[in-house]
């Protein structure tokens, strides 16, 4: 940049007044004065910036592995390039195709059942008129969100376990046996696995996701309800014509965010609940990426990186499009 060039001047004029920084002063003098004024803020940002660059940006050189044949002897940088070979290998891998399909199906289920349920739950909690009951219900439904999926998988197991010689089996099977049925090995049935994922996800997260809607609902002016009541509206009318329109923007954002995550699979949940019996319906992309590289017996680092890269790129495109929509609504996007 030119020492007294216009870019520096254009930037400088926004904050600093002419008195602080005369335009005749050289670029370095002005930079020195600027830094002297804001050195503290730059100092505050520095440690975080270092962590960001080292732990988030530095690994990105490893993405080149997706286009290389890795040999530990040569290292990441020295390994030879192979172009798009790993992507072809990926498309040809039936396990990848299966994981991709499962991820999409499970996410659509979560959208159709989980998302709708959380909106419905928020509306119902909002309709509770006794404050005490309302706060008890809220306390109860937020709680599971804070437990690790490992703990939650433990709870699922406690309830659904098949009886064995050493143990009684889960509560559900105890009840089935009591009523004369044959116990079901829930956790090893591929046809039930997606259902278990969706239901456990609803119990764990839908309570917490009502917070967004409840916050929007708390802002509705009571005069709206009063005038509606005078005009003869009953509570169903109020729900349909006042409450729901008011949370529509929040619903729209949450829906868009959910859609943005269509290719993102919940590693924590699936990894802790699945086993070899349910791979056909339960293996998702993130568990696939783990299993072929670090987990189990796989050491296919390149394929794993390639899959991850593809997913990230697709996800990024979807997020950018989604953010376009979000910023059109009456909210501040995350970007």
């Amino acid at each position: 940049m030119d020492r007294n060039g216009s870019p520096a001047r254009a930037n400088g004029k926004r904050r600093a007044s002419a008195k602080d920084m005369p335009l005749s002063a050289s670029f370095f003098t002005r930079m020195y004065r600027y830094l002297k004024k804001y050195w503290f803020l730059y100092m505050l940002v520095l440690p975080g910036l270092c962590f960001l660059l080292v732990f988030e940006y530095a690994p990105m050189y490893g993405i080149t592995l997706a286009f290389k044949d890795y040999s530990p002897r040569l290292g990441v940088l020295g390994s030879p390039w192979v172009g798009l070979g790993h992507f072809r290998e990926m498309i040809a891998d039936p396990n990848f195709v299966r994981a991709f399909k499962n991820t999409l199906i499970i996410n659509v289920y979560n959208l159709v059942f989980g998302f709708t349920f959380s909106v419905f739950l928020a509306l119902m909690i909002n309709e509770i008129r006794l404050k005490k009951v309302k706060s008890v219900v809220q306390t109860a439904v937020y709680l599971p969100y804070f437990l690790s999926w490992v703990i939650f998988a433990g709870l699922v197991q406690v309830f659904l376990e098949y009886p064995s010689s050493a143990d009684l089996g889960g509560v559900v099977n105890q009840v089935i046996i009591k009523f004369g049925g044959a116990p079901i090995d829930f956790l090893k049935r591929p046809d039930l696995f997606r259902g278990i994922l969706v239901i456990s996800n609803i119990i764990k997260t839908s309570g917490y996701s009502t917070i967004v809607y409840l916050a929007a609902l708390a802002g509705i002016s009571p005069t709206l309800y009063e005038s509606a009541a005078i005009d003869g509206a009953n509570r169903k009318d109020m729900l349909l014509h006042i409450t729901i329109p008011r949370i529509m923007p929040s619903i729209a954002i949450m829906l868009i965010l959910q859609l943005a995550g269509l290719f993102v699979s919940n590693f924590d949940q699936v990894y802790n609940l699945y086993n070899n019996y349910v791979l056909s319906s339960g293996d998702v992309l993130s568990t696939y990426i783990y299993r072929i590289s670090l987990g189990g017996s796989g050491t296919n680092f390149e394929l794993s990186t390639a899959t991850n890269f593809l997913l990230n790129a697709m996800g990024l495109v979807v997020v950018l499009v989604a953010n376009k929509f979000v910023s059109k609504l009456d909210v501040q996007g995350i970007l």
Partner: protein, 309 residues
């Protein structure tokens, strides 16, 4: 707004008097209470089962209350195993260290980035938010940690995640929108320096927000097993407690070891499920302790940092 809300509630009370009892209300209450029970009952069941004496436990049932007294034999059994006590300490150390580090760098960075008029802050902001959506991924991370020499050490559980991107966004929005600008300006006019503003104005008025975020981050750190599993995986002396729980759920040899250990200290051979339940309770305990402190912040907008009122 709170006055409106009270008026609203008052109005609803009169509605209650007018409309009285109807099926709509019955449905609302039944639905909400049933779902609340569904959320809490599993934990309650596990707690009661884990303290029920063996004779009562083997009868099964719904375990609504601890009939037959309280017996802590399963807890004795698991804590007589060295791996359990060791991993408790690992988890505590990891949680305390990474939460402090995380708060330190994330909150200072978030504050600086909230000053978007200062040159460069917008760029840094964009850099942070970008990694929310695009990362190197598992293997590139693994390679980097190997190069840095932190692979298979305690530090791989502390350092990499310490800049928490989600809470960075939340805190940045808090500093931008919820801290009154006038306060800062007044302090500056009164001769306070930027440093003074940060320490004497910003930190004191954001104290409760910072405390809440620290608790949220602590919960995340306590629950984290991913960094151990991916980047350490074979050093049993570094296992966090949640990983021990995971092994109790899936690893038959670990289970047998604990059961045999229980017999060797003079207990009856415990059923695997009972030992699992006792482990679940231990893993849940710290979260249950902080949960009441988190509760008031749910509705105060901290968790909604990205959404404007």
């Amino acid at each position: 707004m709170s006055r409106n809300f009270q008026k609203h509630a008052g109005y609803r009370q009169t509605m209650l008097g007018r409309v009285g009892f109807n099926f709509y209300d019955v449905f609302v209450y039944a639905f909400c209470v049933l779902f609340a029970v569904l959320c809490v009952y599993p934990m309650w069941y596990v707690l009661i089962s884990s303290i029920t004496p063996y004779e009562e436990y083997v009868k099964g049932g719904l375990m609504l209350l601890p009939f037959g007294g309280i017996d802590l034999q399963y807890y004795k059994a698991i804590f007589s195993t060295k791996a359990f006590t060791n991993s408790m300490w690992i988890s505590v150390a990891k949680t305390v260290l990474s939460t402090s580090l995380s708060m330190l760098i994330t909150s200072t960075m978030a504050y600086a980035c909230s000053k978007s008029h200062v040159k460069g802050m917008k760029l840094i902001n964009a850099l942070v938010v970008f990694v929310l959506f695009f990362t190197g991924g598992l293997i590139p991370q693994y390679m980097l940690y190997k190069d840095l020499g932190i692979l298979r050490t305690f530090w791989v559980m502390v350092l990499p995640g310490s800049l928490n991107i989600v809470y960075f966004v939340i805190m940045r929005n808090y500093f931008s929108y919820s801290v009154p600008k006038e306060l800062e300006e007044a302090a500056l006019i009164d001769g306070c320096t930027e440093v003074g503003v940060f320490f004497r104005v910003i930190i004191p008025i954001s104290r409760s927000m910072l405390a809440a975020v620290a608790l949220f981050i602590a919960v995340i750190n306590w629950n984290d097993y991913y960094s151990y599993m991916m980047f350490i995986s074979n050093k049993t002396n570094l296992q966090p407690f949640v990983w021990i729980l995971r092994r109790m759920l899936v690893d038959q040899s670990m289970m047998n070891q604990v059961r045999n250990g229980a017999v060797s200290i003079g207990l009856t051979l415990p059923p695997p499920m009972a030992l699992r339940m006792a482990t679940i309770i231990c893993a849940m305990l710290p979260i249950m302790i902080v949960y009441p402190f988190l509760q008031p912040y749910f509705t105060s907008g901290i968790t909604l940092g990205a959404i404007k009122e």
